[in-house]
């Protein structure tokens, strides 16, 4: 049994496991000690000092996040001295902070702004300390860094290194000149940043945010020459409700379609349509590789953050990647060829917008390979947060909208496509199709529970009629790294691996509403699996619109045309 310690916090007796911090122990009596640099998923840093408490017998205030609870300790989290200290720390931070809350992207989610209000700071008593002269890092197509708003809490640094195993940013210089910067200040686009956006979710202020293109999309919508179609990723529907005050995991697929129609998009389509298409191409590719003794394990390629990661960190493993484009890019390619031919709308007048839980998708859309139609296949990528802002701008009463459907044919999808948004979902969807392709039999039970859930790496052995398929699923790039190292060492036992860059999969993506934490991720995942259950068709290859697409246009999976439009190549980027 784990050793226990007894202590008193604010007069309440608490028993807690050894090596618990005071901060964690205080949660047991429902006190969430105010904090900035503390983050539940990251290592302890103890920099901001806002979580200080009084410990009897110790002369100084102690940071509760970095102080281990001891037997007999008597802690007070709420005394005049503590309140004064916390207030002073935030006042000093504000003395170094721009006062542009009105126009700040993080206005509604800023933890510093909220903390200043909660701590009762109603005037700024210190003179402005810093002059705001730091240049913004605008190099990346996905993420903007504004060092002037940075409070040096290091949450972005820690999430980048500890969760994503990337390490694109660090503290540079010392003392009052400290900044969070990239290598030689080259800019995020010129270092090994994967554009995953987890740093945005971790940032307590407006120092990190997505590069927004809302205004370009508005312009396209109001351009009479343009036929603007929109695709929405699976994970968006499980999260966008949160932006309108709904409970995390509220499933708002119908309301979202209705809102998009009201915004003025000409057709409301679904990335899930091409998620089904991805599954078919990918499942056939897998079967092909197994049959012809091709390179195994094959790894999924839907997550653009993951793609950039492997290009930088494991350039010798690129042949393991499925050559399939991500659903977003398949959609762009199909829209500007098949759909354009079907409707007679010229590709140059088609403007394809995609709504993604992801910041890396902004980078992906601009990759030079993604021009199968002759021009950029996906014209604009909006995050969940950006589309929510557009909806708010118009005053649409999102929560009370009547459900509406997606448009045909590119809006038709199956349950297999819905679960793309959760870690393990692509694997499960692919297994549903691969089983039937390999065995020729009908898969009765479509759920593969072994690959569900939020465990970092999930492994399973699946029997396909005598053929044993070994699969693994990783989310968060530090987990992916473990599987990649196995491949490098030649010890990887798997046939097929799914990797999603972001913890939880797309539903925990860098473009999702804030906050996004472990609990909220689980709730969003549950709602996606619920939607899958409710779908009449739950296997990608049974999607009638996809069947028709093959009949009318692509001929068969992995055909020459499919290769041209739906498959891609990768770039060895390296790291040093």
């Amino acid at each position: 049994m784990a050793e226990l310690v007894n202590l008193t916090i604010d007069g309440y007796q608490i028993q807690t496991a050894k090596n618990t911090t005071i901060f964690e122990a205080a949660k047991k009596i429902n006190i969430n000690i105010p904090h900035l640099c503390y983050h539940e998923n990251l290592s302890i840093y103890g920099a901001c000092r806002i979580c200080v408490v009084e410990v009897e017998g110790r002369p100084r205030l102690e940071p509760s996040c970095a102080t281990i609870a001891e037997n007999g300790m008597r802690v007070k989290t709420n005394t005049a001295r503590v309140r004064r200290a916390r207030r002073m720390i935030v006042e000093l931070l504000l003395a170094n902070h721009p006062e542009d809350c009105f126009t700040c992207e993080s206005n509604q989610v800023c933890e510093l702004r909220k903390l200043a209000y909660d701590l009762g700071i109603r005037s700024l008593r210190f003179e402005k300390g810093r002059k705001y002269h730091y240049k913004l890092d605008l190099s990346s197509p996905a993420i903007i860094r504004d060092p002037n708003k940075c409070i040096l809490c290091s949450r972005c640094i820690r999430v980048c290194l500890e969760i994503q195993a990337v390490g694109a940013i660090e503290f540079v210089n010392r003392g009052s000149k400290t900044q969070v910067l990239t290598f030689f200040n080259k800019g995020l686009n010129n270092v090994e940043c994967t554009n995953c956006g987890q740093c945005i979710l971790a940032c307590p202020t407006g120092a990190l945010r997505e590069k927004t293109i809302v205004d370009e999309v508005w312009e396209a919508i109001s351009d009479p020459k343009k036929f603007v179609i929109v695709q929405t990723a699976p994970a968006v529907r499980s999260a966008i409700g949160e932006e309108f005050g709904m409970k995390p995991g509220a499933l708002v697929t119908g309301k979202m379609a209705a809102a998009l129609r009201r915004l003025g998009f000409s057709r409301i389509f679904d990335t899930q349509f091409t998620a089904d298409l991805t599954i078919i191409e990918e499942a056939y590719e897998l079967v092909e590789r197994i049959k012809n003794k091709g390179i195994l394990p094959m790894i999924t390629s839907c997550s653009p953050g993951w793609i950039k990661y492997i290009e930088h960190f494991f350039p010798d493993c690129l042949e393991h990647l499925s050559t399939c484009k991500s659903p977003q890019q398949m959609f762009g390619a199909i829209a500007k060829t098949y759909y354009s031919q079907k409707t007679g709308i010229e590709p140059k007048n088609l403007y394809v917008v995609s709504i993604m839980p992801c910041t890396a998708k902004k980078f992906e859309a601009k990759r030079p390979e993604m021009r199968a139609s002759g021009a950029q296949d996906v014209d604009a990528v909006l995050t969940t947060r950006e589309i929510a802002r557009m909806i708010k701008e118009t005053g649409i009463d999102f929560c009370n909208l009547q459900d509406e459907d997606f448009d045909e044919p590119l809006g038709i999808s199956t349950g297999a496509a819905v679960i793309f948004g959760a870690t393990g979902g692509v694997m499960e969807a692919a297994l549903r199709t691969a089983y039937e392709v390999v065995t020729g039999k009908t898969l009765e039970r479509v759920e593969f529970e072994q690959v569900r859930g939020l465990e970092g790496i999930k492994k399973a052995n699946i029997m396909l009629d005598g053929l044993e398929l070994k699969v693994a699923v990783a989310h968060g790039l530090s987990n992916a790294r473990i599987l990649l190292e196995e491949i490098q060492n030649g010890t990887s036992p798997y046939h097929f691996i799914e990797v999603m860059a972001c913890p939880g999969g797309c539903l925990g993506g860098g473009g999702q509403p804030m906050p996004t934490n472990f609990e909220i991720r689980a709730m969003r995942a549950a709602s996606l699996y619920r939607e899958d259950e409710d779908k009449p068709v739950r296997k990608s290859h049974e999607n009638p619109a996809i069947k028709k697409l093959y009949e009318e246009f692509l001929e068969k999976p992995l055909s020459e045309k499919a290769h041209h439009l739906l498959h891609t190549t990768y770039t060895k980027r390296g790291r040093y």
Binding site: G167, E170, R575, Y576
Partner: protein, 160 residues
């Protein structure tokens, strides 16, 4: 090119410190001393060998004032500006040294790269405050007059 000069010493250090991160500072010392300054090439090499993110190595370098990416003068004059030295007149020492060493400003080098003047944090020489270091040599109990004389001696080295 710069890595070649340090390669042998690096390898020795790598062997001495099995924990790779511990090898970083000694390697940086060697590189700084042998090459006069650090370069992107050196940073990339060390990051790769020590399996660290490049930016982490960069971060360490920018943290310590003894490392730099710019070539420093033949003589690096470090003048302590921390409290004990400051109270005993380090500001006047700095002024005198700046004037004597050909009127360059702090953190700059003379044109011929003879001197670099750096106001620094505590040198650990509080017992002989105010103090300065010229390369690895220590000078304490300074007065502006003494400091000028010391600099003059170094200036004459050119003619030797």
């Amino acid at each position: 090119m710069s890595i070649k000069k340090c390669r042998q010493e690096f390898e020795k250090i790598f062997k001495k410190y099995p924990d790779k991160t511990q090898a970083l500072l000694p390697c940086l010392y060697v590189a700084q001393e042998k090459c006069g300054c650090l370069t992107e090439e050196i940073v990339s090499f060390l990051a790769q060998r020590l399996d660290l993110p490049k930016v982490e190595v960069y971060s360490v370098i920018t943290f310590y004032s003894m490392f730099s990416f710019e070539k420093k003068g033949k003589f690096v004059i470090r003048i302590c500006m921390s409290l004990p030295c400051y109270l005993r007149g380090s500001r006047e020492i700095l002024e005198a040294v700046v004037e004597e060493a050909l009127c360059i400003k702090p953190n700059q080098s003379t044109e011929a790269k003879k001197f670099t003047i750096e106001p620094v944090s505590c040198l650990g020489l509080c017992d002989i405050a105010p103090a300065m270091m010229i390369n690895k040599k220590i000078y304490g109990n300074l007065t502006p007059q003494k400091a000028r004389e010391i600099i003059r001696r170094y200036k004459q080295e050119k003619d030797k």
